[in-house]
């Protein structure tokens, strides 16, 4: 069924009885060409592009809970392409281009809103780093505008320009950055994949990966064994556990990242704003809630919930940067499990086991990567070769030291990225 305004009108006039399931709930078949473990944003987009770009439709997405239930369902919805290191730069640039055509491609309104993101800087050194970043973005063909203090004031008059502990020197604006309705991204991809024949199987937890003489042959699940010659692990947040089923130990530590939303408010923040000194980023959802977050709670955790020290720190950063939000009330806080890698960048790669592919290590940048990750992962699974936009996301880079992408420059301590 095609979605459109006309369809909404027609259904509205006839009692909305014609709407159908957005995706089919499939039951597992004994064998597929490709099994994707993980029904999050990345797994679903991988399935979609396998079907759409590569004609592979004998594909199953296995989700232990409900699709979209991981980090794609609990993030701060920011979409941007403002990385500066080779590898990340081309990948996120490619991903942003996919975002820009996503609604038309999926026929699903994911509310991709290119409202612009401003990353603030607070010292000469931070400005120089922002210039380097902005130039990397422009080299990549993306948009970047350097704002001075007055330029920032024109966009964000409500910031504390006069009394801030870390004065606002300026900001790097990416007009094409913005937000998207996170859940809808998962559903849109699920619908698109399902329409093309992919089986989306919920409540099906993988309990083992079958390997025979160095080659993957299928998986064991809570709903029985399923055979496949190709298996893709796309389970950021649980990567270490699933990879361990194939005897692999990953360069990943799992951490909790909290985020927050306030009660609904009339429009007051029209951009995505990030605070360079305070690990704070904020935007306002279309429903009116201020959606914001900060840094990790900093200790390894699978609890998907955080504690007050970081809650308070994030609120303090908000008060430091934009005290006009002080009277907004926080409605809900939540936590996601982040796959933290030693250089803060992800892995999309083959493994030493034939037919087993790995997509992990998204740290807390996974949401905006969803289209690009699925596209590249599908390419890798279908052709056996890395896609050129993700060619540097190799698993062996830590061992060799070649092509590390440490945007933060904090080194191989997983929680510092």
């Amino acid at each position: 069924m095609r979605f459109s305004g006309l369809r909404v009108l027609r259904e509205g006039l006839t009692g909305n009885r014609g709407w159908q399931a957005h995706w089919r709930d499939a039951t597992p078949r004994p064998e597929y060409d490709v099994i994707i473990i993980g029904g999050g944003g990345h797994g679903l987009s991988t399935a979609y592009y396998l079907a759409k770009n590569h004609g592979l439709t004998n594909v199953a997405v296995l989700e232990k809970g409900w699709i979209g239930g991981g980090n794609v369902g609990r993030n701060t919805t920011i979409v941007r392409a403002n990385y500066f290191l080779p590898g990340n730069s081309e990948f996120y640039s490619h991903s942003l281009k996919l975002w820009e055509g996503l609604e038309a491609d999926l026929n699903y309104n994911v509310m991709h809103s290119q409202r612009g993101q401003i990353s603030l800087f607070h010292s000469d050194a931070q400005r120089d780093a922002a210039v380097r970043r902005g130039n990397a973005m422009r080299n990549q063909g993306d948009d970047a505008i350097l704002l001075d203090r007055e330029g920032v004031r024109r966009h964000l008059p409500y910031l504390d320009f006069d009394n801030a502990r870390f004065p606002i020197y300026g900001g790097l604006l990416q007009p094409r950055a913005g937000t998207a309705r996170h859940d809808a991204v998962a559903w849109g991809y699920a619908r698109g994949a399902s329409e093309r024949g992919v089986d989306i199987i919920q409540n099906c937890e993988v309990t083992g990966i079958d390997i025979d003489r160095g080659k993957v042959t299928g998986v064991q699940t809570t709903r029985g064994a399923i055979k496949a010659g190709k298996v893709a692990i796309v389970v950021a947040g649980r990567s270490s556990q699933v990879a361990a089923m194939a005897g692999m130990r990953l360069p990943i530590e799992s951490h909790v990242l909290q985020a927050f939303v306030t009660e609904g408010l009339k429009p007051c923040i029209n951009h995505v704003v990030s605070f360079g000194m305070g690990h704070f980023y904020i935007s306002q959802s279309d429903k009116g809630g201020l959606v914001f977050g900060g840094d990790l709670d900093f200790h390894a955790s699978y609890a998907a919930r955080g504690n007050l020290p970081m809650v308070e720190h994030v609120m303090e950063a908000g008060m430091a940067l934009m005290p006009m939000i002080g009277n907004a009330r926080v409605l809900r806080s939540w936590g996601g499990i982040m796959d933290m890698s030693p250089d803060g960048s992800p892995v999309i790669d083959r493994t030493h086991i034939e037919g087993l592919y790995l997509n992990c290590g998204w740290c807390y940048g996974g949401f905006k990567a969803v289209p690009g990750s699925g596209w590249s992962m599908a390419h890798l699974v279908a052709t056996g070769e890395p896609h050129k936009a993700a060619a540097r996301y190799r698993l062996d880079r830590f061992e060799t030291g070649r092509g590390l992408m440490d945007e933060e420059g904090t080194g191989a301590q997983h929680n510092l990225h």
């Binding site: 009692g15 239930g69 369902g73 609604e103 309104n109 080299n139 009339k266 008060m319 002080g326």
Partner: protein
């Protein structure tokens, strides 16, 4: 309207307030909601999506409809619950989410278009034309959405944060909570009892129940008095426990009484972090509505709230009230209404077997199917076993049963258990370590059971605390059975509301199920059920019951969504208090700070420190003038600058040398006492961590300096290496950064300046480059280091910090006659760029010793942190970007830090990027711009030309690659 009654509301004292500009009067003890009801105001808000007129539904913090805005400017607070807002003189509340007025709201048109605005409609439309999303559709949606508004002014709310510690935290001061607190208090435990109401008692304040033979609220007051009189008890009213966190930590929000908050300097709210060894959850329960057509009409209220308004506030929400329920509370409501003299037009009991002893029109086995009266209820339609009837009523009191307040028990991922007999979720024991539920929160509904449950919970806690529980009499109270036959929604045409705030109806949930959003989490996200300010407190259970029905599953199997903190919304100001302005991070000031400021130096942030940017001289109007002068002053005479912000770590012990050999890439055990060496420190992953000079003050004593930014990091690292890798080593270290004030004295005349100052002059023979030792300044013991970050002959003189200000003053005073003076960070930066000295602009965490040309410093003779990883093939070689010096040689004479480098003829795109500039400055010494940067295989490319491109400012410059050291390459000036 106000009625007679026995309620505690203060008779006599009248309070004036306004709502939407209209003046009203209420009574002391009123909430805004009770006062508005008393004044006959029925419409208090508009709904989120359809902008339907709404009246108050509840009497607590869960209120979905009566949300108002109070205050202006920095005190403007949106979305306040009228049910919690204590009436005080001058209160001016405004309705929200309506335009132009509450009674006439243009966007109420949405209500007419509701067939098209079903769950998730926006995912299916607004896609064409593409450019319209940001320009037309989204702005339209954003303007229509939202509830209240922020003023845009910085928050002026006075708020505080505080800590509290206790043996037992009792959450809720109803019968169960009071008994738990009393039991623990009498056992001598340190008890905090917190309740969000203005007075302890919980439901006893709203009911006509007796405890121990006296009215429940009097009993509660008595117990409260006893508790308040005990030293080991803190009774915290107006305090909502908002979250359960790890280690027995709870968040709580205290609202101060308006008369207290009005005192000068008093806070309005306080956010508490309460650390409790044990906790009792006695938070009671929330009553749930029943879904039927137009059940959101103003006047349709929760039965328990109606009893609260009648019994506590002496207000009847209507001249005639119909009561609709599926449990015994409906009868209690009728009895209370009758006792208060309110006309009851019908008792509609959904239970077929119900009987009634009260003198009212009674409809067993009936259900309300519709409500009439857009801006205030006029009548309800009911479906009885014998047909449909219409009954006049200005208020419908409904009770769909009670949901125990399990929320806090779910904050640590616990899931509640479904209990079929009471048709409700109850806390799963152990869900929050150390917390037990008691009373209604546990699913025990009678007053007597609550009193008993409170004692039992306290006993359990006392046992865990190692205390003996005292004998305590359980007061007498009603012990009736809670009898409920669940109904979730009444079948029929029309929209029946589940989530009143987000306008989610039964149809929406059914549509979600039809579209395969069958998981409760999918349904929530697709319909937005439970995502509004009440977080589904009023609606979640009903919605999942409807979903269970639509998907043919049991409620227990359908499960719930997750309750997450905070239990009630907490302002960013309250949780973030202290972060405002300069409070966000500590300010570290050097001993020369005030003198620098007095000389007009702009102070800039360096980590947490402040350092002078430059010292403007008379006649200088631009920083470059000052900077250039200061650079030349150092090159030609002498300059003084405060370097105290650099980290200083005193390392002592027989194994100090061994420790330094392990943490530095180069060797320090061979350094002679009285000598200083530059050291390069790697991270274990083979990249540069930090650099600095380390002096050997004695055989077993070193003084390490770090960069300003990395001082804490390096200190932590040294402790790590010692405690975690070599605890057997006999070495100790301490940060002495703040103990010493240290000043660089740089320039050809530095020795001259110094010798006029020191008690004994220094001779070059005794004080060669990279030497150190004790000296005396005016009788004060000091340390002198002959080191240089400027490339000139230089010294650093350190004195105990209390002499820092005096020494700086003296140094500057003596420098000036020599043609010198103070210099700031700008000049310091130029001087070091001229010399190719690196800072964190170069060692930014991604560079290796090889990259900066110091690969040879990594000692082959010994192990060091980072050595093994630095040997990885990817961390050295021609492919690496290596440190180079750059100078512009084309027509454009400037360099821009952050600009990328390309081959001269190559297009400035990513694939062609060969490197970037890290630092650049105009060199007054050399008369042109200079830069440092990283260039692929750069060391082999000295003399070649590259193109610098800064897209952001549109600057393109041709540069020549050269050695990073661009001034005095052989270092003769420095060595003197």
């Amino acid at each position: 309207m106000r009625i007679g009654g026995e309620g505690p509301i203060g008779r006599g004292r009248r309070i004036g307030f306004t709502f939407d500009g209209r003046a009203y009067q209420g009574l002391a003890g009123d909430t805004l909601a009770s006062a508005l009801l008393a004044n006959g105001v029925r419409v208090m808000g508009r709904s989120f999506k359809y902008h339907r007129p709404r009246g108050v539904m509840t009497a607590g913090s869960e209120e979905p409809n009566a949300l108002v805005t109070v205050g202006r400017g920095g005190l403007q607070e949106p979305n306040l619950r009228a049910t919690q807002l204590e009436l005080h003189e001058g209160l001016a509340a405004r309705s929200q989410n309506r335009w132009p007025s509450l009674t006439f709201d243009i966007l109420a048109l949405n209500d007419l278009a509701s067939p098209f605005f079903g769950a998730g409609f926006y995912y299916k439309t607004f896609m064409w034309p593409r450019a319209f999303w940001e320009r037309v559709y989204e702005p339209m949606i954003r303007r229509a959405a939202g509830l209240g508004a922020l003023s845009g002014a910085p928050s002026d709310l006075r708020v505080e944060k505080a800590w509290a510690h206790c043996d037992l935290l009792v959450i809720g001061a109803g019968p169960a909570g009071l008994m738990a607190a009393l039991t623990a208090a009498r056992a001598g435990a340190d008890v905090i009892i917190a309740d969000e109401d203005t007075r302890p008692g919980g439901r006893l304040n709203a009911e006509t129940i007796e405890v121990d033979g006296v009215p429940g609220r009097d009993w509660a007051a008595e117990i409260t008095a006893e508790l308040s009189g005990m030293d080991n008890v803190r009774v915290m009213t107006r305090t909502t426990v908002t979250g359960a966190y790890d280690g027995g930590t709870y968040g709580a929000l205290e609202r101060l009484a308006p008369e207290v908050a009005a005192r000068p300097g008093a806070p309005r709210e306080c956010f508490w972090r309460i650390v409790a060894r044990r906790a009792v959850l006695a938070a009671g329960a929330l009553e749930r509505p029943i879904a039927f057509a137009n059940n959101d009409r103003p006047g349709v209220m929760m039965a328990g709230a109606v009893r609260a308004y009648v019994n506590r506030w002496c207000v009847s929400p209507g001249r005639s009230v119909a009561v609709f329920g599926n449990n015994s509370d409906a009868h209690r409501t009728v009895a209370d209404l009758l006792a208060a003299g309110v006309h009851v037009s019908a008792l509609i009991d959904a239970r077929h077997d119900a009987t009634c002893s009260l003198d009212v029109p009674f409809y067993p086995g009936a259900q309300v199917s519709n409500a009439h009266g857009r801006c205030g209820l006029e009548a309800v339609s009911i479906l009885t076993p014998s047909g449909e009837e219409k009954i006049e009523a200005e208020c419908l009191a409904m009770s769909g049963g009670w949901n125990p307040s399990v929320h806090l028990t779910c904050h640590m991922n616990g899931r509640p258990d479904w209990r079929e007999d009471i048709a409700a979720f109850v806390p799963r024991p152990g869900a929050v370590p150390g917390l037990v539920a008691a009373g209604v929160a546990r699913g025990d509904f009678s007053t007597r059971a609550c009193l008993q449950g409170g004692v039992a919970a306290a006993r359990e806690a006392l046992t865990a605390l190692g205390r003996t529980a005292p004998e305590i009499d359980i007061p007498g109270a009603e012990d009736s059975r809670y009898d409920i036959t669940p109904i979730w929604s009444v079948p029929g045409r029309g929209r029946a509301w589940l989530d009143f705030q987000n306008d989610v109806t039964v149809k929406d949930v059914r549509l979600a199920a039809q579209e395969n959003f069958r998981s409760v989490e999918h349904m929530k996200r697709y319909t937005t059920q439970g995502m509004a300010p009440d977080q589904g407190k009023n609606s979640n259970v009903n919605a999942l019951a409807v979903l269970a029905d639509a998907t043919g599953r049991a409620i227990a199997e359908t499960g719930t969504t997750t309750f997450r903190p905070p239990y009630v919304p907490v302002s960013i100001a309250a949780m973030g208090v202290g972060g405002r302005g300069k409070g966000f991070a500590p300010q570290r000031l050097t001993t020369s700070h005030e003198l620098s400021v007095a000389r007009g130096a702009p102070m800039i942030e360096a980590g947490l420190w402040y350092r002078p940017s430059y010292f403007p001289a008379p006649g200088e109007s631009h920083w470059r003038q000052s900077c250039d002068r200061e650079v030349l002053m150092v090159r030609n005479a002498v300059g003084v600058t405060d370097v105290s912000t650099l980290g200083k770590i005193d390392i002592q012990g027989p194994d100090a040398a061994a420790l330094l050999d392990l943490v530095y890439a180069n060797t320090f055990s061979t350094l002679k006492p009285g000598r200083v060496r530059y050291g390069l420190m790697l991270r274990e992953d083979g990249h540069v961590m930090d650099d600095g000079t380390t002096a050997r003050l004695g055989e077993n004593q070193y003084l390490m300096t770090t960069t300003t930014a990395a001082a804490g990091l390096v200190m932590r690292h040294l402790e790590f290496v010692h405690q975690c890798l070599r605890p057997d080593w006999d070495v100790r270290m301490v940060s002495v950064t703040e103990n010493w004030a240290q000043f660089a004295i740089a320039g050809p005349k530095s020795a001259e300046l110094l010798n006029g100052l020191l008690d004994a002059p220094v001779a070059d023979a005794d004080w060669p480059f990279m030497s150190c030792g004790p000296v005396s300044v005016g009788g004060v013991g000091a340390r002198l280091f002959r080191i240089s970050f400027s490339g000139e002959r230089g010294y650093e003189l350190a004195v105990p910090a209390r002499y820092g200000e005096a020494l700086f003053r003296e140094l500057v005073a003596r420098a000036e006659p020599l043609g010198g003076g103070p210099y700031g960070m700008e000049a310091l930066n130029v001087l070091r760029i001229e010399k190719g000295f690196i800072t964190h602009a170069e060692i930014h965490g991604r560079t290796t010793a090889f990259d900066i040309g110091m690969g040879g410093m990594v000692s082959k003779a010994k192990d060091c942190i980072g050595k093994a990883a630095a040997a990885r093939p990817g961390l050295s070689g021609e492919e690496r970007e290596q440190l180079v010096g750059l100078k512009p040689v084309g027509t454009v004479k400037m360099l821009v830090p952050g600009a990328h480098l390309f081959e001269e003829g190559a297009e400035a795109v990513s694939d062609n990027s060969q490197g970037y500039i890290t630092s650049a400055a105009f060199s007054p010494t050399l008369g042109h711009f200079l830069g440092l940067g990283f260039l692929r295989n750069g060391r082999a490319r000295h003399g070649q030309r590259v193109r610098m491109v800064d897209h952001l400012k549109g600057v393109v410059a041709i540069c020549e690659v050269q050695d990073p050291v661009q001034y005095d390459r052989d270092g003769g000036r420095m060595r003197g």
